[in-house]
Amino acid sequence: MANWIPLWVHKLSSPPNFYRFAGTLRPWALVLALLLGAVALYGGLVLAPADYQQGDAYRIIFIHVPCAWMGLFIYGVMAVASFISLVWRIKLAEVVAMESAPIGAAFTFITLVTGSLWGKPMWGTWWTWDARLTSELVLLFLYLGVIGLYHSFEDRRQGARAAAFLAIIGIINVPIVHFSVNWWNTLHQGSTVRILGPSKMSSEMLWPLLTMMVATKFYYIASLFGRVRTDLLSMESGKDWVRQIAAQESQR
């Protein structure tokens, strides 16, 4: 490993250490996700007023938009972890990249389905080949491609390497999804929430949305850590530390 990387990173990235680290943090991340998610749902479904144009149908936004953000965010994490795994051959980066793909696919799937359920009453159609919708569908196919490629090799690490290449190439779709509403004339509405400058949304609607965004981030940590732990166990199943865990869990 390159010598400019601090020692603690090196130590943490060893499978038994990361297994313990992830095991300690995961319940906290899950509790925070559930608490913040419950608060956000209460704010979004009960406290926030109905929209003056869309009535109560707009309430789908409180899951649709956070899931769409997660779809893009997780793709970014997956691509960066893929790059690290290809350049430095760190096993943990490989596992993070490959286990991020199903979570990202789940969020992208939710985005497409909830968008469809929102589109029907508002646009009059479940689906249209609009730039935003099409690029989001491509995002789902990229995730499925990464998952499929990973599992299509007999040797797991070879599969991970091939899938990492696809993940890195596919990153080009992320800005396309994000800017599609500005670049093309689409049916999908433009961004309502902005990082820079004021958002075009009342604070009663904005805070539940942002709270749900934080909740989905914590959910991602909880889900990813659970998946990484499972993967580390099966990758290292010949090692002593895994055998000890297997023996301990049979006593319970």
Partner: protein, 66 residues
């Protein structure tokens, strides 16, 4: 804000058929995502224990054989 009523909450201003399925998909998919590694982990460890049991059985047999 007017007083909370369950009926109007469930009705979602007439959009219940769109809003509630959206939330159902959200929860269903995330619960499935969360449980899948739990089940995989349980299966992996069970297989590993079976392998360990076979190995220790073989190790016990080997020294006593003539």
């Amino acid at each position: 804000m007017s007083a909370f009523s369950w009926d109007s909450f469930i009705a979602m201003g007439g959009y219940a058929a769109y809003v509630w399925p959206a939330y159902a998909v959200f929860f269903f998919v995330l619960i499935a995502d969360y449980l899948s590694p739990v089940l995989r982990r349980r299966r992996d460890l069970r297989e590993l224990r079976a392998r360990m049991a076979r190995q220790s059985a073989r190790a016990q047999r080997a020294p006593s054989s003539p």
